[in-house]
């Protein structure tokens, strides 16, 4: 990518983030009620209307929308995301607390998904028995429809509560990651494997494969040297998109396993309409999304030199 193309691409990325911020802000403002209302007009606190009015004023709950927009935006620019209304903690602290845990879960889950997808796809392609081949090739379609919640419960019941192999409560850092990573990996590996299988099949039908075969290359050689490299580009592209899947999966996984993380935080914030937290989560997700897709765009030409040429031709 030329420096100019890169600059354009970066500009687009920034625009996406700003749009995500504005869109999220407007939508959160448009929701009925607000977090102050939810927390303090809860009848269980038994507050009088006068007390509630005082608190609303102290929190600036009724400032005009544009004032609060600029206030929030200028805060975000300097890294001040405000306070969670639900538990009074600085959103920055909340994010700092949960991010490492979710990042670890996400990276391991994604890595496991890639391994799983490759194993399924390559075995399916490498096997000669047509029955076994079909079964393996259709496995991703089955896995893609497995609900994360159900999968998590089954894994916990079987491996933790029945067999006692891993603890889900009070386990060590590694022990407590095994089942959540597996839970997250399976549904993400499925579309990856699907794309990989499809791409491999497509590449296999290309004439150059027949040429390589004719030259006497073994099945395995062709698969690993010629097919995989060509099949990787569409897979890489879908991997960027699957990031959204990863965040959604983290919400369920972290809730079922009771792990602190971005997913849990989001779930709690949605339940309590904790606007400050949601705003930060949306922007953060947008940033990650943009960065990963940017990375995919930068890496793709390295995998497939043909993409490099096209960029040059366009520039």
């Amino acid at each position: 990518m030329t420096p100019r193309a890169l600059a354009t691409r970066l500009g687009q990325s920034l625009l996406v983030i700003v749009l995500a911020f504005t869109g999220a802000f407007l939508m959160l403002q448009a929701l009925p009620g607000d977090a102050v209302l939810i927390k303090f007009e809860n009848p269980e606190l038994g507050l009088t209307p006068a007390q509630i009015a005082e608190i609303r004023e102290a929190y600036g709950a009724d400032t005009p929308i544009w004032t609060s927009f600029w206030h929030t935006l200028s805060g975000f620019v300097v890294g001040d995301f405000g306070y969670s209304i639900q538990n009074g903690t600085a959103v920055r602290d909340l994010l700092a607390e949960v991010l490492p845990s979710t990042a670890l879960l996400g990276v391991l889950g994604f890595a496991a998904a890639v391994v799983l997808a490759c194993v399924v796809a390559f075995t399916a392609m490498g096997v000669r028995n047509p029955w076994l081949r079909n079964t393996l090739a259709s496995l991703p379609s089955v896995l893609v429809s497995v609900p994360v919640f159900w999968l998590a419960m089954v894994l916990i019941q079987v491996f933790s509560f029945r067999l006692g192999l891993v603890r889900v409560i009070g386990g060590g850092p590694v022990e407590s990651l095994v089942l959540p990573v597996l839970t997250l990996a399976v549904p993400i590996s499925a579309p990856l494997a699907q794309i990989l299988v499809r791409s491999i099949e497509d590449v296999q039908r290309q004439p150059f494969i027949a040429v390589v075969r004719a030259k006497g290359a073994s099945r395995w050689w062709v698969l690993t040297r010629n097919i995989v490299r060509n099949a990787l580009v569409p897979t890489l592209t879908i991997a960027g998109v699957l990031l959204g899947e990863l965040v959604a999966g983290a919400i369920v996984t972290e809730t079922v396993f009771g792990r602190a993380g971005l997913g849990r935080l989001t779930e709690q914030a949605v339940a309590n309409q904790d606007v400050a937290v949601l705003q930060a989560v949306v922007v953060l997700t947008a940033v990650i999304f943009v960065v990963v897709n940017l990375a995919v765009d930068l890496v793709a030409p390295l995998v497939d030199p043909r993409l490099k040429k096209e960029v040059r031709a366009a520039a």
Binding site: P43, G46, T48, E54, A58, Q86, G88, G170
Partner: protein, 558 residues
């Protein structure tokens, strides 16, 4: 349950406690009620040391004591703070704790407490009268600028006077007979003056280690949203006199683990990965006991789980309609199909183990035929679709799904079926996002039937639930214009909270119970417990008077 088996060495000067105890003893013997706040007599000597793992469904949100009504908050505050006065969870009698004795003037507008002089906060500073005064100045008056609310348990608070380092007097603008009990609740947990200088944010999640109390445990560390670790204070030596453990806690550590999934809580308990789990669902009770774990189901001693009929709504303004809804509700079926014996059928507005309880079973009749007739007479005619209409308008109501209450959706669904089949009344269930929900439940035209309960072991509890200035569940005070619909109800409720004489207060509470049922303002369903599952190794676990866990005397026998 052995009643009053732990007698006081030092009787308090105020007759309230004794009267309360004798009353509870009477109702308990007569009704055979079980408060059931502790596990059976522990076998063997307590084991010192060790870690206990406790599972809660939700993370705590704040350690500010007035917000401890939220169970996860209360479960922590109860163990890291002490109170002036201890309310015996079985007898409901008041016993000395941080205060060694107390006096109250005749009209209950002045309370003077004498304090122990050997109590220290966990940061080493001494607890004195000034510190105690500062606590109640904040809890009694609140500070909106810091987002800190008034404690629901404290009424009519005016000011405090520090008489000397061990004596403090509190002044009230009107009689506040419930104040003594208020000082014993978790909402009045004593914190260090430095901690009390904080804003609401400083009490939030993640700030636990900076919250300084005098309790047997301190917050050692937190992982926001997933785990809180409490460590025992080794120099703790001021437990209430009746406590079996007079020194430091037996346990070294308690790990509170947030486990939102009910299946994981139950499985964690039965597989031995955790020692105690809170909120065992009625449907899971068998699974827990079958695996060798025990159940502890302390009652919450307050207003029963039930429906408030918002009589200021145009349709519910008709007493006949309200009576019909009451007659058409098969409460026994609700209890039998959805719950277990830990959820007794309600026989009044408040629970059998609540102070001031009066058996009102005769006012709670199931007679759907008569109910249907009342609606017919009131001009609501049955249509071919099974619903009644008047002037082209269907007889329809909305009830909220009360997320914190056990099986609220199932309860409301079952009652909805009962009302349709027996009365031809449509009952819709409100499930909505938090913002829509909060707005709807504060509007009698959106939610006409309000599902809720409240636990507190004081006569004031009935006022907390129904008074316009408090929870206002009947919306007797219209939030739109602050007008009061039924002034007589407000008067009766005020009497409960501000009559100095204890017996007269009990009478006032009983008058409210009868009035609420005679007017068909309330349909009480069942007495709501807190259900804990205890692993076989857990001993000495107790719940305080409204079912919050108390770990001071708990140990784990490996």
């Amino acid at each position: 349950m052995t009643l009053a088996h732990r007698h006081l060495s030092r009787r308090n000067l105020f007759g309230l406690g004794i009267a309360a105890a004798s009353l509870t003893a009477l109702t308990a013997c007569g009704g055979g009620a079980q408060a059931n706040n502790q596990t059976e007599a522990p076998a063997g000597d307590p084991v010192k040391g060790g870690t206990l793992t406790y599972l809660d469904a939700q993370p705590h949100t704040s350690l500010y004591p007035p917000s401890a009504g939220f169970y996860p908050n209360g479960g922590l505050v109860n163990n890291i703070t002490d109170r002036l006065v201890h309310q015996n969870a079985e007898t409901l009698e008041f016993e000395p704790w941080i205060a060694t004795e107390w006096t109250v003037n005749d009209d209950a507008t002045e309370f003077t407490f004498t304090l122990r002089d050997d109590v220290t906060f966990s940061d080493g500073t001494k607890l004195d009268a000034a510190a105690v005064a500062k606590n109640f100045d904040l809890y009694g008056l609140g500070d909106a600028a810091r987002g800190l609310t008034v404690s629901e348990a404290i009424n009519n608070y005016k000011s405090s006077t520090v008489v000397n380092p061990t004596t403090v007097t509190f002044h009230f603008s009107a009689p506040a007979p419930g104040f003594l009990q208020a000082t014993s609740t978790i909402n009045s947990g004593l914190l260090s003056p430095k901690t009390l200088d904080g804003k609401l944010e400083d009490f939030g999640a993640g700030k636990g280690p900076t919250i300084i109390g005098t309790g047997p445990f301190v917050v050692a560390s937190e992982k926001i949203g997933s785990e809180v670790v409490l460590k025992a204070r080794t120099d703790y030596a001021w437990a209430p006199k009746s406590a079996p453990n007079q020194s430091r806690a037996h346990l070294d550590q308690i790990t509170y683990v947030v486990t939102p999934e009910a299946g994981v809580r139950v499985g964690g308990l039965t597989s031995g990965q955790a020692h105690i789990a809170r909120q065992i669902a009625a449907t899971d009770e068998k699974q827990v006991t079958a695996a060798g774990a025990k159940l502890l189901a302390p009652q919450t001693r307050g207003v029963n789980n039930g429906f408030s009929l918002r009589f200021r709504n145009e349709v519910l303004a008709d007493k006949n309609v309200r009576q019909a809804l009451s007659l058409g509700t098969n409460r026994q079926e609700v209890v039998d199909t959805l719950f277990t014996e830990n959820y007794p059928l309600a026989t009044s507005v408040i629970g059998k183990t609540a102070l001031g309880y009066q058996d009102n079973s005769s006012k709670l009749v199931h007679d759907p035929g008569k109910g249907a007739q009342l609606l017919e007479d009131a001009g609501w005619k049955l249509g071919s679709d099974g619903y009644r209409t008047k002037d082209g308008k269907r007889l329809t109501f909305t009830v909220n799904e009360a997320a914190p209450q056990p099986r609220s959706f199932d309860v409301t669904t079952l009652v909805s079926q009962q009302w349709k089949a027996a009365l031809g009344v449509e009952l819709k269930i409100l499930r909505a996002d938090a913002g829509t929900y909060t707005k709807a439940i504060n509007d009698a035209n959106q939610v006409q039937v309000y599902h809720s309960m409240v636990g507190r072991a004081d006569l004031d509890v009935i006022k907390s639930q129904y008074a316009g200035k408090n929870r206002n569940t009947l919306l007797n005070r219209d939030p739109a214009d602050d007008s009061i619909g039924d002034t007589k109800l407000e008067e009766l409720l005020t009497k409960v909270a501000s009559t100095p004489d204890h017996d007269a207060r009990i009478k006032a509470s009983q008058d409210v119970q009868a009035y609420l049922l005679d007017e068909f303002y309330v349909i009480p369903l069942f007495e709501e417990p807190q259900v804990f599952g205890l692993g076989p190794k857990v001993h000495g676990f107790e719940a305080e008077s409204v079912g919050r866990p108390t770990f001071h005397n708990t140990w784990v026998a490996e």
